[in-house]
Symmetry: C2
Amino acid sequence: MGKWTEIANCIKEAGRVVIMTHTNMDGDAAGSALALCHALRRMGKRCVILLEDDIPGYLKFMHDHSDAEAEPFFVRSMPFDPELALVVDCGDAGRIEKRLDVFESCATKICVDHHVQVDSFADHSVIQPEASATGLLVYELIKELGVPIDKEIAEDLYVAILTDTGCFKYSNTTKECHLVTAELYEYGIEHEKLATLIYDTLELSQIKLEAAIVNWMEVFAGGRAVISYVTQEKLIELGATYDMTNSCIDVLRKIAGVEVCAFLKEHEDGTFKVSLRSKSNADVNLVARALGGGGHVKAAGATLKLPLNEALDATKAEIEKELALR
Amino acid sequence: MGKWTEIANCIKEAGRVVIMTHTNMDGDAAGSALALCHALRRMGKRCVILLEDDIPGYLKFMHDHSDAEAEPFFVRSMPFDPELALVVDCGDAGRIEKRLDVFESCATKICVDHHVQVDSFADHSVIQPEASATGLLVYELIKELGVPIDKEIAEDLYVAILTDTGCFKYSNTTKECHLVTAELYEYGIEHEKLATLIYDTLELSQIKLEAAIVNWMEVFAGGRAVISYVTQEKLIELGATYDMTNSCIDVLRKIAGVEVCAFLKEHEDGTFKVSLRSKSNADVNLVARALGGGGHVKAAGATLKLPLNEALDATKAEIEKELALR
């Protein structure tokens, strides 16, 4: 029996299906959920994707998916009683917390994911942490279900693979990602339009925020480190939102020769969240721990209850200590 | 007879080969030339790549290619008399101008390219404008030559495909690009390292320049157009070089809702080069022609002999006229 047989059988038997994915959805979550939703509707099933929070701005275009059917793909409350729950790209019941009642109400519960899973919460699961994107697993499942891939399904799967591999740049990109993408081209995907929407379209306030981060940055430790920040006041001045600050550390990371990057953003309560990244041998987990936080060797963070200048000075001092060891 | 038979036979018979590519080399030119140079050396031939200008900064890492052989890959003058000239990714003799004497001295002249060619200047050519990258043609040629692809050749071909497709985002990206890339993964290419060097590594002065462009930009025509500039004085202040200004228009293009982008850069003689881009229906060729220049519907340019403010005003006025028609 293949790994998909049980799951495919459960899906074939169900008439009403709810799909869920993790809160703070990314492209892999949205693409995997939409591809499956399309496929299940093609099979004649009633199917929606139940959300408990908003779709992020950069993925809003996926909402506009053309479809002749009247029922929307994304819903905030169930328009019917589902028999089957299909959780994709989410290996943690805590990330479907406000939807657990609907999940529990389903006679059958399925999970398809590529995150390392602590507790299995479904009746049937395919969990493959080595898969670059959940979209690749959904691609296999749709093939198993015998639904022909069309342009809409192909574009959803493309967005899933594209975003979880960072436009085929991240280390998790594999031969399989390119082989599946090559097949998706056969269905007429508009890859340039999708990639431009995802990677080359920024709100005016986001572009201004990123420029401001560069204006305010300080390069130190002989060019081996860089630090920058944003305060609540500056965010308001720029018309930027807090979620736009997520990409700021990546702007700093691009600077040639820089080994450690630090970015401080002020929370509404006046504390500063410190994000730290290293490129090769520096251990920013040690820096974060010295600041009362923690994380991994190449990505770590801390929260400082200090005025801006003191928070910057404390972070710089710990980075300099760490770099002095390397 | 396959399209590669003649060319492969010429290469097999030659002992000393010079490879040339266009001036102001890009990733496809460098990757195609290096892949071929590696392959020909594996065949026991003496082979170098003859340059007439510098390798651009962002491709300097390709210079460091490890190789046990003593002879460098890139040379500025020939260390031997070549029998065969192999011109790749260059369909115009004007772009090998200072090397024409060496080219003419070769008994056999070959051209492999994907640009539309006006005059054929080689004895044997494979010209395929529909190929996404010359690297894809070189991949076919290396297969025809029977040289096994190894990690070094694979990485060169990967850089060629990656850069000419804009990291698989441009409209010219095809199914074949992904299929060949999938095969290149089999040879152990370090795709993340290469993609990071090419796309996510910027000189400090380049990052500062791009931020300055955003600081100085003006959004007009109700948010449908944006204009910015850089002067020689500002370039010097930022420690930036003129070739770093090439990417500035792309920074402006990312702004959501903007249809027309204009970027003015001051030449050393005080005139301004105006670069114009449109995203969908506006015709920047008309704007450029009104300013005394020309180009295509979506990409055009002009040169203005005006002081900065007058040049900005003239460009804005023509853009507003064009946008009023759409």
